[in-house]
């Protein structure tokens, strides 16, 4: 359908993004099972794809050891992430989507092939530096500000105040949950109590007390100004 020799399929691009994302947390090589889990697929399928990406010099692969992005692969992944986040900004800023709705659509838009389109979109949006979820947007050279010094909400001490600067990019359900409790970027919170038996946390948002599970409090990032 399109010409250029080094064009990637949507599937290849999605794997690349997943490997990049896992590399952020894991220092070492990415294992087949970890990737299979992330991609919600089977280890055998991952092995096949890993070989393909390695063939294209996007990752290095050592049998039974795992894989790792090459500089070229990293650059490629960052360009996909750039597109994803720019489209998210477009959807929220220009089309008035809620921040909880845009991830799914951006998952499709990130695969549109036209670097001219990406650059013009970037310009149209006035070169935004972060997306609606607080994640940094790489520029056309793949350069981006490292995440603002943020820590998981879970790590805040009792009676401390903090401002939400980001949330982990995830399911629409998660964002709907946050919206339900009127939690968003810039929301100020105060930690009231922490329950050790289940690691849940009680916070104050406006004048409402909300109990958040350990899972949720790990996915919300805050900054203590």
């Amino acid at each position: 359908m399109f010409k250029t020799g080094c064009m990637l399929t949507q599937s290849e691009e999605n794997y690349l993004k997943a490997i990049y994302s896992l590399s952020e947390q894991n220092a070492e090589m990415i294992s087949t099972n970890l990737l299979a889990d992330k991609m919600a697929t089977k280890a055998s399928s991952v092995t096949d794809m890993i070989k393909k990406l390695s063939e294209k010099s996007l990752i290095t692969y050592l049998k039974y050891q795992g894989c790792e992005l090459t500089p070229f692969g990293r650059e490629t992944a960052l360009q996909i992430i750039r597109k994803h986040r720019l489209w998210e900004v477009f959807l929220v800023e220009k089309l008035n989507f809620g921040w909880e709705e845009v991830h799914e659509i951006a998952e499709q838009l990130e695969h549109i092939q036209s670097s001219k389109l990406t650059d013009k979109l970037d310009e149209f949006l006035k070169f935004p530096k972060i997306d609606p979820h607080g994640d940094p947007i790489p520029d056309k050279n793949g350069v981006f500000q490292k995440q603002i010094i943020a820590q998981p909400l879970a790590s805040i001490q009792i009676s401390e105040k903090a401002t939400i600067t980001g949330v982990e990019d995830g399911s629409s359900e998660f964002f709907q949950f946050l919206k339900r409790y009127e939690i968003g970027l810039g929301t100020e919170i105060k930690v009231l109590e922490k329950f050790s038996f289940d690691q849940s946390i009680l916070i104050l948002v406006g004048d409402k007390e909300i109990n958040l599970s350990a899972l949720v409090s790990q996915k919300i990032y805050v900054c203590q100004a």
Copy 2:
């Protein structure tokens, strides 16, 4: 990846558009070869796809006779065309692309699955009625104004004047050709001469005389105000 049971692949959507487009010119059923030609593929591949679309009640199919869109298929095709043309407007109006560059990109964007996105885009663009090439844009119910009464440039008599109201949606090369000669929507022209030996036509654009081949003069539509 997406839920709804009746989701179409990009390939299926492209066939549907091609069948719709051919139905505009051909009164009868669309033959396998005609469609193969349009899709730049082989007749055997078309037969396979035709069966699939027929299975999904998007077309009616009679062996050896050809195929035809069902009302449901027509509606589906119009929604894809709607998306294609809305994105073309977006690219030209908002991102300042040239009208000759947008078709290729819109070929990709038209497959993004989200009717909410389409409707919000439509609203953002102020519900445009025609795309950058003069083609009408169906609304969310598939309703659109029939093409402005236009005739091919080839049919204009010598010494008559006319205004360009549309061009056939085609290759980027074609649009670049038109741009090269400063021919666009709204351009006023005058027919100076018509050469019967090759059906070419000599027109006046501004103060320049331009000879257009029969092929080109069939693809440009004009209106005599």
